[in-house]
Symmetry: C2
């Protein structure tokens, strides 16, 4: 029995021809749940291996006190929010744009700096969708990253330029959602 | 600005008509990555809220020493594997079936016991696909669970009976995967 393993849900395969990548760029997109959640699950693995890990939140959650932030901080993850973050409810677009731009400049520095082995750019897609930050520039930053730095980017409608340079792209598709039955987001599960 | 929040990726909505559910049944299915990973991300949130949390692994990973298990155990999560688990490479189907059946009986007891507020049944779908355990029985166990017990079920091709009774179902769809370019699973990201 081989101890070599394909991704859990992709077996069986012939694994004899595989090569190792020093790092990966992964994208979690789509309109379903689990994009950020899966990124935080991956953070668990990175932390388990002793990787310096950082999370940059581009979109502030309405639930400012999230469980994922609490536990990630306890696990030694560096956690950054974009200024105070921007929200869907913001009525000052210029301020939101400025925060998104600052968050990207900060993130680009993290990527180029090579200090972290995993960097999560959580909900960055929206800032590209709204043309607040340049998707080609984000893609270029990913391509020219230091070899050991893996990056996970999350959010709906991820820019094609980013999809193009990513190693692994998953689309989370909603089949059904409790919210459609007017069930509110639940502490402990959703945040 | 409201602090009430819809799921992160589902805003904005009118949140005034929402009700709270004491618990939820969530399914992560599909052929893409992130099904188990998102479940472990949710475990982070449950742990952050002090919820007693358990994981039952139905399908043993080829990577027996996973990062998610290591950190979840450190966080106080109860972690159970199905006997030694069964694998894709097993050449003893009777043994694999017996382990899957035992894992389900154990899981049914966890659900009915009400001791845990979140129970992850990781990669349980395969045991139903192969008719080793009865999907209607799994669905019945979910429906009759104690009120505070949330359950996440993961795996490809989840049985319709389970989809039917779940509150939230997400399909993870592969857009592209590093594995297609013969890049092997990476410690720190994939396990």
């Amino acid at each position: 029995m081989s101890t070599e393993s394909a991704p859990r849900s992709e077996r069986p395969y012939d694994t004899s021809q595989l090569r190792s990548a020093p790092s990966l760029v992964m994208v979690n997109t789509g309109h379903g749940k689990g994009k950020s959640t899966a990124a935080f699950g991956t953070v668990l693995r990175a932390v388990a291996r002793g990787w310096p890990t950082a999370v940059v939140q581009f979109l502030k959650s309405g639930n400012w006190n999230t469980g994922e932030e609490k536990v990630c901080r306890e696990l030694g993850v560096q956690w950054f929010s974009a200024g105070d973050g921007f929200t869907w409810e913001s009525d000052d677009l210029d301020e939101s744009r400025a925060k998104a731009v600052a968050a990207w400049e900060f993130s680009a520095g993290l990527i180029a700096g090579g200090e972290y082995r995993l960097i999560v750019l959580d909900e960055i897609s929206y800032a590209m969708t709204w043309d607040w930050i340049n998707a080609a520039e984000v893609a270029s930053s990913l391509v020219s990253r230091p070899e050991p730095v893996s990056v996970i980017l999350t959010g709906r409608d991820m820019a094609d330029e980013v999809i193009e340079v990513a190693d692994t792209v998953t689309e989370m598709v909603k089949v059904k959602h409790a919210f459609d039955r007017q069930i509110r987001a639940k502490k402990g599960l959703d945040y």
